[in-house]
Symmetry: C2
Subunit: 329 residues, 2 copies
């Protein structure tokens, strides 16, 4: 099909600028949405806390984009001890002016045979690189596995050690992961080998806690945003702007994948799917689980007319007055 | 996995009520979003109107959910004469208080060898049925095909005739499509036979204009919403409510599909994908098309520094000052 931009008076910059304006508005909408839904998510949290296995059941019905990463042994763990899941937009909490696209995903567990942790929280920061790339970056979260219970076979801890080493090198001014033409350290070589040996098929869902993504510090992101805004302003005033590095080469995006040091290459996409699909759709997935599980004989306690205000105070109970079959959506 | 709602004090109604509250907030967010993005879509409209083949190129890069319905002959038609595509939330335009989820998708064409129409607009109304189902319904839009050019092979016109007959029957108080245990009319039988013969594979994209969806009148929807709100209010006040028909049996949703009278069963889903993916992502898809088409030698007119204000007035031009390769996103 004939291409066309060359025959027109519209520039690439003009389209890119328009996209940035859409981006600004979208960000504001997310901010607004987070504010409006916050009280509802709190109410939901109180209600579902009373339902045993709510989150394991939700995860059992998770859409394929999530389900594909959950191995049978992960399912068994989750069913045994996952008590709560929550998503927060931590950079805009309590009136803070951060990016509403940054998310934290918090998993809570009861005492269990697998690990010592009661809470595992993974944060994703929305950052912009100097080359124009923008997206979510994270830090490895280690898990204190009990003896012989590590579902990642030591991989996650190794990722954490390499990360710590990286941070130390960076602090010492040795460039860390950002250094060009860098030699891999012995630890990095070991990790790379282990990842290659493991492969990604059959990898535990818990390896996701090791996702790092691109190395973009808060400071680098701040400078990149500042620079971009300056250029946009100049362009809007009709001034000439040196072509920036906006046209990021996609190949740069996954340095770490190419390095073979990323334990869970799709970690950011998975985080977005959890935050934008599983989290808002939890009741829908739970209802589906109920239907599937017990099409024939499951009955709900129904029409209890719990006063919601009362519930919010103390989760008080009223006696069930009648029963009814689990209905469809 | 063990089901759990039966062991708790949480009721099905409580979860359903919470979902309705989320629904209310979501609707408000869409309303807000439509308002905020409106000026940007207008600006985009003016810019892309200057780019030949903008919309055919966008459609060429459409995501699989859309692309799967576009046959090669549809592509040829679109490339030959599609000049504009637009999505509007017509029930909330000019401050109207309708449902922001209702959408109209408007296609504009230059004079062409295929049909007489210059504009084809398909509207989707967000409605609620008495049984609790909610979603998009539509009406067939006929196309004035030129001789031997009908890509639907007469199917679309047949759908329109059955629709008209249906409306007439309903007006005459004969129940139309809603009548229970109804006999198919001769026209309906003919349509059903034709759809069976045609099958859905290879069906023209333009058959989508014939999608009808569930038969829910504006009045039925209004009453259903009213009834539901009354029940919600009672429940919130802690009063007993007769179980409503909220648990709509999914099988009821596609009466027409079962009847074999729906020409394009996925028509509502396709409309949503166009409105929520193709429409907001048009520049992204266009840029992809540019990259694919002309990786090697395409050059953009660049750095023209068109003043955007000026552009909005009259699309005035400035001479290109330099060129630059088509960059990435």
């Amino acid at each position: 099909m004939a291409s066309s931009l060359q025959d027109t008076l519209v520039t690439y910059e003009e389209l890119a600028e328009l996209e940035l304006e859409f981006d600004d508005v979208e960000t504001e909408i997310i901010r607004h949405q987070v504010q409006l839904t916050q009280p509802l998510y709190e109410k939901r949290h109180k209600i579902v806390a009373q339902i045993p296995n709510f989150w394991p059941l939700v995860l059992e019905q998770a859409p394929p984009d999530i389900d594909e990463y959950i191995q049978p042994s992960d399912s068994a763990l989750l069913l045994a001890c996952l008590t709560s899941l929550s998503v927060s937009h931590f950079e805009i909490e309590n009136g803070a002016k951060g990016d509403p696209r940054s998310v934290a995903i918090k998993w809570e567990f009861s005492e269990n045979e697998y690990f010592e942790d009661r809470v595992l929280e993974k944060k994703f920061w929305y950052r912009r690189a100097e080359d124009g790339w923008a997206g979510l970056v994270s830090e490895p979260v280690d898990i204190k596995w009990k003896k012989d219970k590590d579902l990642t076979g030591g991989l996650l801890s190794m990722v954490k050690r390499v990360w710590d080493e990286d941070q130390a090198l960076e602090k010492a001014g040795k460039g860390g992961a950002k250094a060009k033409d860098k030699e891999l350290t012995p630890q990095q070589k070991e990790l790379k080998k282990k990842i290659e040996e493991t492969g990604l098929g059959g990898l535990s869902f818990f390896a996701w806690f090791g996702f790092r993504g691109q190395r973009i510090s808060a400071e680098e992101s701040r400078l990149a945003i500042e620079k971009e805004q300056k250029q946009r302003k100049l362009r809007l005033e009709g001034k000439k702007v040196e072509p920036s590095e906006d046209d990021a080469d996609d190949d740069d995006d996954d340095d770490d994948e190419l390095d073979g040091l990323e334990i869970f290459p799709e970690g950011d996409t998975l985080a977005v799917t959890i935050a934008e699909d599983l989290w808002p759709g939890a009741i829908k997935y739970f209802t589906q689980a109920q239907e599937q599980d017990a099409l024939s004989d499951l009955e709900f306690e129904s029409d209890m007319e719990l006063d919601l205000e009362e519930l919010e105070e103390d989760g008080d109970e009223a006696p069930p007055s009648k029963k009814r079959k689990a209905g469809g959506e």
